[in-house]
């Protein structure tokens, strides 16, 4: 099978500092590939190079056939002085109202169409960004920390939604995350990045590999999150019992 994307020996140096060191990988259609790594590992730089937003110092990104790329940025900051509704935000990518409503439907927030973007919760904002990426009918979805600012239950729901989108549309997905365990069920392949590729493979293989443990430590690997309350779709806590986190 022909890959969607071929990354060949990408290197990036900024001001003499090595950000990326000979990063090579391939991404295939219908595949979900997750980049994990600590802060400053170069994940976002790599994504920006793939998107054409940043130029690599050396190495190439090749797309064997022309691709439509849908991009979901890490966060969205809209100035409160800008009176923009969710519908208006989506219209920037596609003026067709019906298609915008359908995209919102797919990410299960069609009721937010007329709401101002600046008042959305973290989870709602991420879904709006995802809807905008979907409007482009992408062959490749690039998601930079798609669950940022979303509570843990919301994160699971969002990862399920991403898997569902892949299953329905057959697009390839490149995703950035800093937590392997949350993303484990939602990904086919994992690349563990720390300037260079430390290890890669299935999530199970990566989490068992010494390179991964060395990078994240045992504590992270054993971390679990206990819930004592339920969340609705929008992330509000519905039933608060005793609150003990961590």
């Amino acid at each position: 099978m022909q890959p969607l994307l071929n990354s060949n020996d990408i290197c990036l140096q900024i001001a003499g500092k090595t950000i990326l060191d000979h990063v090579s990988f391939q991404l295939f259609p219908r595949q979900i590939l997750t980049l994990i790594g600590p802060n400053g590992a170069g994940k976002t730089s790599l994504v920006r190079i793939i998107l054409g937003l940043l130029k690599a110092s050396s190495g190439t990104v090749a797309f064997p056939r022309p691709l439509r790329i849908g991009y979901m940025p890490q966060k969205l900051h809209i100035d409160a002085t800008l009176p923009l509704t969710v519908g208006g935000f989506l219209a920037l990518a596609d003026r067709h109202r019906k298609r915008c409503r359908d995209a919102l439907e797919r990410v299960a927030i069609s009721h937010l169409y007329d709401q101002p973007v600046s008042g959305l919760s973290g989870g709602e904002t991420q879904r709006v960004l995802l809807a905008r990426a979907l409007l482009r009918k992408p062959d490749l979805l690039v998601l930079d920390e798609p669950v940022q600012g979303v509570d843990v239950n919301g994160q699971e729901a969002l990862y399920q939604l991403i898997t569902q989108i892949r299953n329905e549309s057959g697009c390839g997905i490149l995703m950035v995350s800093h937590d392997l365990h949350l993303v484990m069920a939602a990904t086919d392949q994992v690349i563990c990045l720390n300037q260079h590729i430390c290890c890669h493979g299935t999530p199970e293989a990566v989490s068992a590999s010494p390179a991964y443990t060395e990078l994240f430590g045992v504590r992270t690997a054993l971390y679990t999150h206990h819930h004592d309350h339920q969340h609705s779709l929008h992330g509000e806590v519905e039933d608060c019992g005793d609150h003990h986190h961590g």
Binding site: L53, T85, G88, F89, L92, R132
Partner: protein, 264 residues
């Protein structure tokens, strides 16, 4: 009505009309200080125009554009915070412009009219050029509306979606330089950004979409021009500052209304 008053009104309305949409972008993109810096460098443009015997309008546009391009380049260095950088350039260019004025041999320049505007002295030709430039800028903003809004909301996202971010930004700088050049006569270099920022901020209270805010900004600006000219006529106050103060009072009145969309 006296002819000069009619011309003043027409010139003021032309500038207010175009300031609405442009001001909205200045507010959304937090470019107020940036606009101020460009406006201050306009004085340098006038000096350069006198020095090299170029039409002052053209010289102002060229200097503002050079300044804008220089600022964008310096911002990328990230060695200094943007507002520090703007603070340095804004006041240095104002000081340089003032000194250049004094050094020009034989030229007696009315500094006050450059700093605060001289709307009553506006000529028919100047009024015509204000409306031509305003029409051009409005056309450009209308044509580039979606990409302009798109880069304002999220630059990277816009670029991935195929917007030529560099080109659209350059166009925005060009329109800003053009409007500064025509607004100088009306309110002067020190008050130009006020004419963009205040009506747009007033409009925010009533607007539920970006396009509405742009249009209402024009309306608020035009009301301020009418009020300012009337006030200046009745109380014999300087016209440019009267227009800006009217805009400020309109904003105060608008505060009485709760901003829409903020309840959500």
């Amino acid at each position: 009505m006296a002819d000069f008053l009619l011309l003043a009104l027409l010139a003021g309305l032309g500038v207010a009309l175009v300031s609405g949409p442009l001001g909205a972008f200045v507010v959304w993109r937090r470019m107020a200080y940036f606009g101020d810096t460009l406006a201050h460098s306009a004085l340098l443009g006038v000096a350069a125009g006198l020095w090299f015997s170029i039409a002052p309008g053209i010289a102002v546009i060229v200097i503002c554009l050079l300044m804008a391009i220089g600022l964008l380049a310096l911002q990328r260095q990230q060695a200094l915070a943007t507002d520090t950088l703007l603070g340095i350039l804004s006041h240095s260019s104002l000081a340089l412009g003032l000194i250049a004025m004094y050094l020009i041999p034989g030229a007696r320049v009315d500094l006050e009219s450059l700093l605060f505007g001289d709307l009553l002295a506006v000529t028919a030709l100047e009024t015509l050029s204000i409306w031509l430039v305003a029409g051009f800028v409005l056309g450009l903003i209308y044509w580039l509306w979606t990409p302009l809004l798109s880069i304002t909301v999220h630059e990277d996202l816009a670029q991935v979606e195929g917007v030529n971010v560099g080109l659209v930004k350059t166009c925005l700088m060009l329109t800003l330089a053009l409007v500064i050049a025509i607004a100088m006569k009306v309110v002067g270099v020190l008050l130009i950004t006020a004419l963009m920022v205040i009506p747009a901020a007033t409009a925010r209270r009533f607007a539920i979409s970006p396009a509405q805010m742009a249009v209402l900004g024009s309306v608020a600006g035009m009301i301020a021009v009418c009020l300012g000219i009337a006030a200046s006529w009745w109380w014999d106050t300087p016209m440019g500052p009267s227009i800006v103060l009217s805009a400020g009072l309109l904003f105060l009145v608008s505060l009485a209304r709760r901003a829409r969309q903020q309840k959500a």
